[in-house]
Symmetry: C2
Subunit: 295 residues, 2 copies
């Protein structure tokens, strides 16, 4: 899976897609048609790209999908009404509300309104609670689940490892810590969760066997913060101005890749590392939701 010391997220995502496509076929042969609905509010360019990629990949795996687009001015009540309809619709197995939502809408209220059984993003409090409690009946959030799967399939030893996570967001950092600290196979790590108030992030990074960077600070992880041979996973997506680029900007991760790559044991490229895994885990979750709905 690795060319040199690169963890090839695209190739690993394809392995998962292949398994999901098989799962979808098996469900279809039993008359179950997995379907998910994406809900997008407003015209955020990144959100449009993400939803477009999710639709395209769904189609490739045989998962039906539909996108509902609401105007930027939509109210929370309107969005809640749509969610209630989708919750009640037995043909819909997965519901994904694309973040970020406009500021006048509470993301936490919206995420909590999605039926936990259709919460393929894993953001509903009950799914977050189950993850924390080590109860495997819920859905894991897609990005940390994707990082976890990436580490497993790249044969990284997680049990007993010292893992430093940078960033304590609800979408990556906190659930990532919850997954890796469990008393369970492919977990059992000692996790330190660092953030903006951490006194000496560099010192924590230097003692880590695995660094997972998800704080959203461009090229924050420098070579002198990485223990030689450590595994470095870059979850960041930061847009930097770049006059030489056609778009006027370029995307960089949270890791100073050019300088960290020579000393890391394994490292994810960015793009081509974590990104493809997020979609792979989403579609695996949706297919599982379809399977569970028929029990």
């Amino acid at each position: 899976m690795a060319a040199g010391n690169l963890i090839d997220g695209r190739a690993i995502a394809e392995q998962i897609h292949a398994a999901t496509a098989q799962h979808v076929s098996a469900l279809k042969s039993r008359g179950i048609e997995p379907k998910q609905v994406f809900v997008r509010v407003g015209e955020d360019p990144a959100s449009k790209v993400y939803v477009g990629m999710k639709e395209k990949t769904s189609a490739r795996l045989g998962i039906a999908s539909e996108t509902r687009v609401l105007p930027e001015t939509a109210t929370e009540a309107e969005l809640l009404t749509i969610i209630a309809q989708l919750n009640a619709d037995r043909a819909v197995h997965g519901i994904l509300i694309q973040a970020p939502l406009p500021k006048h809408i509470s993301e936490s209220r919206i995420f909590a309104a999605v039926s936990p059984d259709k919460d393929v993003d894993g953001f509903h409090p009950i799914n977050v609670g189950k993850l924390m409690l080590g109860d495997e009946t819920g859905f894991h959030p897609c990005t940390p689940a994707g990082v976890h799967e990436l580490l497993i399939r790249a044969d990284v030893k997680i049990a007993g490892a010292e893992i430093v996570i940078l960033g304590r967001g609800n979408i990556v950092g906190k659930p990532m810590a919850a997954i890796l600290c469990q008393k369970a196979r492919h977990a059992d790590a000692t996790v330190t969760l660092c953030h903006s108030r951490t006194r000496d992030v560099a010192a924590h990074c230097r003692r880590a066997d695995i660094i997972i960077a998800a704080m959203g600070v461009a090229e924050f992880v420098k070579a002198d913060m990485v223990k030689p041979g450590a595994v470095v996973v870059d979850v960041g997506v930061n847009r930097l101005p770049d006059p030489s680029a056609k778009s006027g900007s370029r995307l960089v991760g949270d890791v100073d890749f050019a300088n960290v790559q020579p000393i890391a044991g394994l490292i994810t490229p960015n793009p081509g590392g974590v990104g493809p895994m997020t979609i792979a885990m989403l579609l695996a979750n949706t297919t599982r939701a379809a399977e569970l709905a028929t029990r």
Copy 2:
């Protein structure tokens, strides 16, 4: 609050009891009678003692309570039926299922059956999820909430502190980490969660500003594992054989108190540290549940 370097859990618990008693009086003047029901299965001696203490303290604060006792042979279905009745009973604001339950009953299924609004123990997945997400509308589990309150009232600086938690149980270790890592007042700490698979627990402890020991290993934390001046909180309750004691055994914590106390900045005695706080937070939760039920 501290005699020498002791954090006096009994005195701090009494401060909280006083506030709870006032809250109870205010509710009663509005015609609300806070009430909780304890459910105990079997005759575990420690459970009998704990429930007895909770009943007695409830009475002292003016909170009505009732204890249902089921035989050791009770089935999960019987227990679920009682929980459903209590969930439906509008006069009951808090429900506490005393752990441990007999082995033939699934604690996680039982805890998830209690209505989240009456889950004053904070064990329901939705309350655990809310805690993790930083959503303050849920109930925090009583022991970690008690430790948190103890640190706050003992004026321990939590923001930016390096905190090492020993033990990753669902009742103390994991929720404790979730409370302390939040981007919030009296939190904002850098938390490392250690456990039986941690490679070098002593090294983690030695760099900690605050150690919270909740792994259930008698006198595990030794003096040479503590940085001089660090704050040490002992959540452990371990029974050791002691022929010189009338009962044939004695209770000790997870900290080697006699040797750690001289070098700690602050330390909780055990008993008299965390224990009284657990009950204080429970009764505060129940009173809050009564208040919320009437909204």
